[in-house]
Amino acid sequence: MTTVVIFIISIAAGMLGAMTGQGGGVLLVPFLTLIMRVDVKTAIAASIVSVIATSSGSASAYVRDRLSNVKIGMYLEMFTIVGALVGAAITLRSGGHIIYLIFGLVLLASFVALWLKPDMGETANLKQDRLSAFLELEGEYYDQATGRTVAYKGTRAAYGGVLMFGAGLIAGMLGIGAGALKVLIHDLVMELPPKVSTTTSNFIIGVTALAGTSAYLAAGLIKPAIAVPVIVGVTIGSRFGTRVLVRLTNAAVRKFFMVVLFILGSEMILRGLGLL
């Protein structure tokens, strides 16, 4: 019975995650811990394995369509995987309350970020610092909407790398893809066009999640009873969510998601403080 409930919850988390571009993990862990009373570290471990499946599934299409920039992805993966290992090590050594607290804060921060999110156009950056030029952080993609090929250059490779270590750390620590954070770094710091930044972030997430997964596997926290329905459910949910996304208005989904983030974030913090 529990298996079926976890499966359904995972489909919901995957669907909502895909529809809002936030990924399934950010909802999955609160769902599992708050509703199903799963141990927080076990929930994080199950979530990070499922992140490999969802991100690799969609990255496959983005890479084929040449939207993801493989070079920028490979460069940044050097930082995210080390971050993910450090993050997983922190979680494995921390008490449950601290993890709840940090998770809650990340949820509320996502809520604020969605609230303030500036609308960015498809203008491509063509200025570059020397390190970024040396690292060949550039490319072009075909924009289906306008029918034009857009050439772009990434910049501030050094800051991007350091910040990506942080994104990897949060991903490994909380068992999430931290895609929203990676996209923010791509957009605001490295000045990549939105299409490239979201698809490249997706590309990076799979490898980052693997680094985290390996630590949770070694710690014996990947429990088939939880992880298997989660992997299958989230993957199905996110496939479905991507399809629904085209038909639903963005604003409605975003508002609903923001409400969910706020409630879950508050509950996680209360749980962390021992008040719930």
Partner: protein, 134 residues
């Protein structure tokens, strides 16, 4: 193979395609890995439910690294449990194989020293983490 054909692997736009199309290879690796893993997980769970008359997967994975996990899973006759474990193993190997192919591409085909070093670094850290013992 002309140097020109392999030069624009970053995000090549239509027209010319290099002989070893890295994007296409990576795309296939990812989708095959995920699909195979899901099939194994679903089939394994179904088999487990039939044998044990219960859908709850009441067993634990060895508290060990991926290498030991693979060795243990493949060391005995296939049970429903092993099929499920294999699904998890295939999923974990998917991004790993993807990086491996990228490393081969940058090293042997594009001959881009910088990116060969970068992908090798990623590969080494991943390999280390998969052999981790806690």
């Amino acid at each position: 193979m002309s140097g020109d054909a392999v030069r624009d692997h970053g995000v090549a736009s239509g027209g010319r395609r290099p002989a070893f199309d890295m994007e296409l290879v990576i795309s296939y690796v990812l989708i095959t890995g995920v699909a195979l893993s899901l099939i194994l997980l679903v089939v394994g769970t179904a088999a487990y439910a039939i044998v044990h008359h219960d859908l709850a997967l009441a067993y634990s994975l060895p508290q060990d690294n991926l290498y030991e996990f693979i060795r243990l899973t493949l060391s005995h006759l296939f049970t429903a449990k092993d099929v499920i474990n294999l699904g998890i193993i295939v999923l974990m190997l998917t991004p790993y194989v993807r990086v491996l192919f990228s490393a081969i591409y940058f090293g042997a085909i594009a001959r881009n020293l910088k990116y060969t070093l970068f992908t090798t670094f990623v590969l080494v850290v991943l390999t280390y983490s998969l052999f981790l013992r806690l």
